[in-house]
């Protein structure tokens, strides 16, 4: 294992821990609204107050002075000590919230929502990406290795899925589903829908690689030595596609996170107040988060981190340069 992979795996493990202990790490219920604190900026913890006295970690409470301009001032006359291990890892007072990553337009804690949203958003995106890549790799491998009519038929099928107007399919599907969907139903539907629409690009790429690689000397040699087609595919050709699949994964995961938000427009996303990264980013865009409330883009940072760890951990080959990582 090379250093880069170790870093990637460390990141991935940290994310996994975050997801596993999310309810305990998130300071507040993700749906809890502090209506006096819309668009509150992140609150920096302090240990030294204005009079240079040392405290346990604390924050200064925020006061909203201009709602329309989202103007807050810190009330430096009071300190709000952070409470440790009182139901959650750390939180502010009940009346004076602490927003480590700021709050959204409804006064909900962005950090709590990012942490809890990771479960659903990453879950959906990763599972759907695995399904899409599995179908894609299998189809592409068969098409590329077999060639001929099988290749033609499979690639036409991929084309068909590519040109299928997905949103129509989703609308029709939504019409057939009950009006109120449980998060579990939404999760399943999303994974299936995204997995189904995501595979053709992977299939095409894998097929292209197979077309080239199957004529390479090592593949011909394996065949000449009597290896079965399955062995040639699994042991020799598929590993050649791993770099490509890793790149695909890193493209599909963020795309699927955002696709969930798009699907929520047509009623197939997680219903409010369930936190999801895609919906949070969409809200951030609508609220001009980039300019006036950059902390609303925290889920984007989380996506980058997740994708980065996938990149680093995915393969011994450099997924971007597509050469041996140790060279």
């Amino acid at each position: 294992m090379i250093a880069r992979q170790r870093i990637g795996l460390t990141f991935a493990a940290m994310l996994a821990l975050l997801v596993a202990f999310a309810p305990w790490i998130a300071p507040y219920e993700p749906a809890r609204q502090f209506s006096t604190h819309p668009f509150a900026p992140p609150m920096r913890p302090h240990v030294i107050d204005d009079e240079a006295r040392l405290h346990a970690p604390f924050v200064y409470p925020l006061r909203l002075v201009d709602p329309l301009e989202r103007g807050y001032v810190e009330d430096r006359t009071r300190v709000i000590p952070l409470r440790w291990l009182s139901g959650t890892l750390v939180r502010g007072a009940d009346t004076e919230p602490w927003f480590p990553l700021g709050s959204d337009g409804l006064g909900r804690d962005v950090f709590s929502r990012v942490v809890l949203g990771a479960r659903l958003s990453l879950g959906v995106a990763l599972l759907a990406a695995v399904i899409a890549l599995a179908i894609g790799a299998l189809t592409g491998a068969l098409a590329g290795y077999a060639g001929g009519w099988a290749d033609s038929a499979l690639m036409h099928l991929a084309d068909l899925v590519l040109v299928l107007p997905g949103i129509y399919v989703v609308l029709a599907l939504r019409g057939a589903l009950p009006l109120v969907l449980t998060p579990r139903q939404v999760f399943t539907a999303l994974v299936l829908v995204l997995g189904f629409v995501g595979w053709p690009a992977a299939a095409r790429g894998v097929r292209g690689i197979f077309l080239i690689e199957r004529r390479q000397e090592y593949a011909e040699a394996a065949k000449a030595l009597g290896a079965s087609p399955l062995r040639v595919i699994a042991r020799h050709l598929l590993p050649a596609s791993l770099g490509f699949l890793a790149v695909q994964a890193s493209v599909l995961v963020p795309a699927f996170v955002m696709a969930e938000a798009t699907l929520s427009y047509v009623g197939l996303g997680f219903a409010p107040p369930t936190p999801s990264w895609g919906a949070m980013l969409q809200d951030a865009g609508a609220a001009r988060g980039g300019a006036d409330a950059p902390w609303l883009l925290a889920p984007a940072g989380a996506i980058v981190l997740a994708v980065f760890s996938i990149h680093l951990a995915s393969s011994g080959r450099d997924p971007l340069l597509w050469r041996d990582g140790e060279s």
Binding site: Q33, P67, L68, E69, R70, L179, Y265, G269, A271
Partner: protein, 639 residues
């Protein structure tokens, strides 16, 4: 008798509007949905500028289902607007030397025009173009709410108030030089009432479902007889642009009226009585209108109008793009004018630098509403039918929290459909529901909804949890408001499922009465309640909670029907206001729809725009296009 309803999405989608009438107005409403869901076979130029993101087409299945039904919803999202702008002026300043002549005004258009024929298309694009290129017989001044002579320079009314004799202005010509006569008025009415066209304008020009009788004893006189008493009288005519008979009569006779004035054959050939003519249309980019040199109106000093040489509509895809263009100075104003709370901070920074003018117009008159399905309630949730349940919800929701968070303070709490912005018709005596969780609990308990298992949530007599769903449009300010309502009701012990759907799906559920409650909005085109009978009367197609009832389903709806019928025929304004105040009181007691807030409306324009008199009703700025001007006038030929 016009209720102009429109819908526009907060997140950059496009505006949609339509016209509806009191009484038998199925067709008008139906047109709206047709328009929203896409072109129909019958009328292929129907606009499809509904309020969904442009990248999601409507399911043909949904569209077909919607078209197949005769009723369509007229929902409309209410643009929340912002206030807090400290601007003291209510109109943009005029330069020291009076209005400047020349120059071009650049406005944005959120949707592509499909046709310039307002008779067959009620989209925002067609409406804006018609407002600039056509004229009406009379005009309601959006600022004063007064009826003003326009193409008709004066009129007399018969003692019973049902027959009006209008004298047309002399010497008026269309932009192509052909004189305007009463024959054009007759032709316009004929087109509006043409059964094959089913124009939404025609369905709006009715009293108790019957068309007006029009006669033209001579080329300068029009006699209009109302089929039933209707105190607002000629206000009905505010929405009918007069079109040229000499140009469109052959098309009407040949059955090709719907294709006349299409975007490909219209520009440059359309004759109108308005201040501008369409001179160029570049698909996806802009519509250019140039000054009508034969325009009939003069300014106070006798000078020719309009002041502007050109008006350019730049087509911007979405509200975000629109606002960015306004900020960069590449457009002067937004046609669908008011600004969103989230845009306020950056617009104010520009205002502080003198790069923008912000105008506080007042409290919006089109609040969103949460209404329950009173037409068909599932037996398991019979409590939805009880007015105590709805009153309790109204008490349980903290309106101030919605104002502070969703609207960033730029809204006021309201308790009924008529907001304080409607100064003439708002009644302060209607019931109010300030936030009172205790009272909400008591009202829930009074109808048997209590916490029976100690889980903190309410159950009905059978032990089933009290739970209902709210349908709303995803990704905008309504979804956010519904989320706040959901949280407040959770604190009150009620589980609410917020279901975000696209507009056609909501419409379909509404038509088939397959919902618990819907949070949506609709927009009035007139302040006068006589123009919005379709909402108030139990037989109305926009009586959202239980539309098109054959006989009133409840005693209070029967009473509102009676009061509204008296109201539209009552002789004095005071009497009409008294009757309408009683209607608002009955509405407030029974709460078929729960209103939470009304946004404060602010609009932003480039400082070069002068002569604007922003109004609460659409078109908020472009309602007086002939006196708008730009301070740099001809000195800025590049614009």
């Amino acid at each position: 008798m016009i209720a102009l309803l429109s819908s526009f999405d907060y997140d950059g989608a496009r505006q949609h509007r339509g016209i509806s009438t009191p009484g038998a107005n199925r067709l008008a409403a139906c047109r709206l949905l047709r328009q929203r869901v896409g072109p129909t076979r019958k009328n292929p130029r129907k606009s499809d500028d509904g309020d969904r993101p442009s990248n999601w087409p409507v399911s043909s299945r949904v569209a077909r289902a919607c078209r197949a039904r005769y009723v369509c919803p007229l929902f409309a999202l209410i643009l929340a607007a912002v206030s807090g702008c400290r601007s003291s002026e209510l109109s943009t300043r005029q330069g020291a030397g009076g209005p400047v002549r020349g120059g071009a005004l650049v406005a944005s258009l959120r949707s592509e025009p499909r046709t310039f024929n307002r008779y067959i298309d009620n989209s925002a694009a067609a409406d804006a173009t018609a407002a600039l290129t056509q004229a009406k017989l009379v005009r309601i001044n959006r600022k004063t709410e007064e009826l003003e002579p326009w193409l008709a320079e004066r009129w007399t009314a018969s003692p019973d108030g049902r027959t009006f004799t209008l004298t047309l202005r002399q010497g008026v010509t269309f932009s192509d030089g052909v004189p305007f006569t009463s024959a054009d008025v007759l032709f316009s009415f004929a087109a509006a009432y043409d059964p094959k066209l089913q124009s939404n304008l025609g369905s709006a020009l009715r009293v108790e479902g019957k068309p007006l009788q029009i006669a033209a004893p001579d080329p300068a006189t029009i006699v209009i007889t109302l089929p039933a008493p209707f105190t607002p009288g000629l206000r009905l005519l505010d929405n009918l642009p007069i079109i040229p008979k000499h140009q469109l009569d052959p098309a009407l006779k040949a059955g090709t009226f719907a294709d006349a004035w299409g975007v490909t054959n219209g520009p440059g050939h359309m004759a109108g009585l308005g201040p501008f003519v369409v001179s160029e249309y570049v698909p996806g980019q802009r519509v250019t209108l140039t000054r009508n040199t034969r325009y009939w109106r003069k300014d106070a000093s006798g000078g020719a109008l309009p002041y502007l040489d050109r008006v350019v509509f730049e087509i911007a895809s979405g509200q975000d793009a629109e606002v960015q263009r306004l900020e960069s100075g590449s457009i002067d104003l937004l046609t669908q004018a008011d600004i969103r709370p989230q845009d306020y901070a950056s617009l104010k920074r520009l205002r502080d630098r003198g790069a923008l003018t912000l105008i506080d117009v007042g409290t919006g008159v089109d609040p969103n509403v949460l209404w329950f399905n009173l037409a068909r309630t599932p037996p398991a949730r019979a409590y939805l039918q009880k007015s105590e349940f709805r009153q309790a919800i109204s008490y349980a929701v903290d309106r101030d929290a919605i104002v502070n968070s969703v609207y960033l303070g730029a809204a006021v709490p309201v308790y009924g459909p008529v907001t304080p912005g409607n100064r003439i018709w708002f009644s302060d005596a209607a019931p109010k529901y300030p936030h009172d969780p205790e009272r909400a609990r008591a009202l829930f308990a009074a109808i048997g909804l209590t916490d029976r298992n100690g889980d903190g949530m309410l159950e009905d007599a059978s032990g089933a949890p009290v739970r209902f769903s709210i349908l709303t449009q995803g990704g905008n300010i309504r979804a956010q408001t519904a989320t706040v309502v959901q949280e407040h009701l959770r604190q009150a012990g009620i589980t609410v499922d917020v279901v975000a759907l696209d507009f056609p799906s909501i419409a379909q559920r509404w038509q088939s009465r397959d919902y618990d409650s819907i949070y949506y909005g609709f927009q009035f085109s007139a302040m006068d309640p006589a123009m919005t009978l379709d909402y108030w009367l139990s037989s109305g197609s926009l009586h959202f909670w239980n539309p098109e009832q054959k006989t009133p389903a409840t005693p209070w709806e029967r009473r509102i029907d009676e009061l509204m019928q008296q109201q539209i025929a009552a002789p004095t304004l005071d009497e009409r206001r008294r009757l309408f105040a009683e209607v608002q009181k009955i509405f407030g007691e029974n709460l078929p729809g729960i209103y939470f807030i009304a946004p404060k409306v602010s609009i932003a324009t480039n400082p070069r725009v002068a002569g604007a008199e922003p109004a609460l009703l659409d078109p908020k700025i472009l309602w007086n296009p002939d006196t708008l001007n730009v301070t740099d006038g001809a000195a800025a030929p590049h614009r």
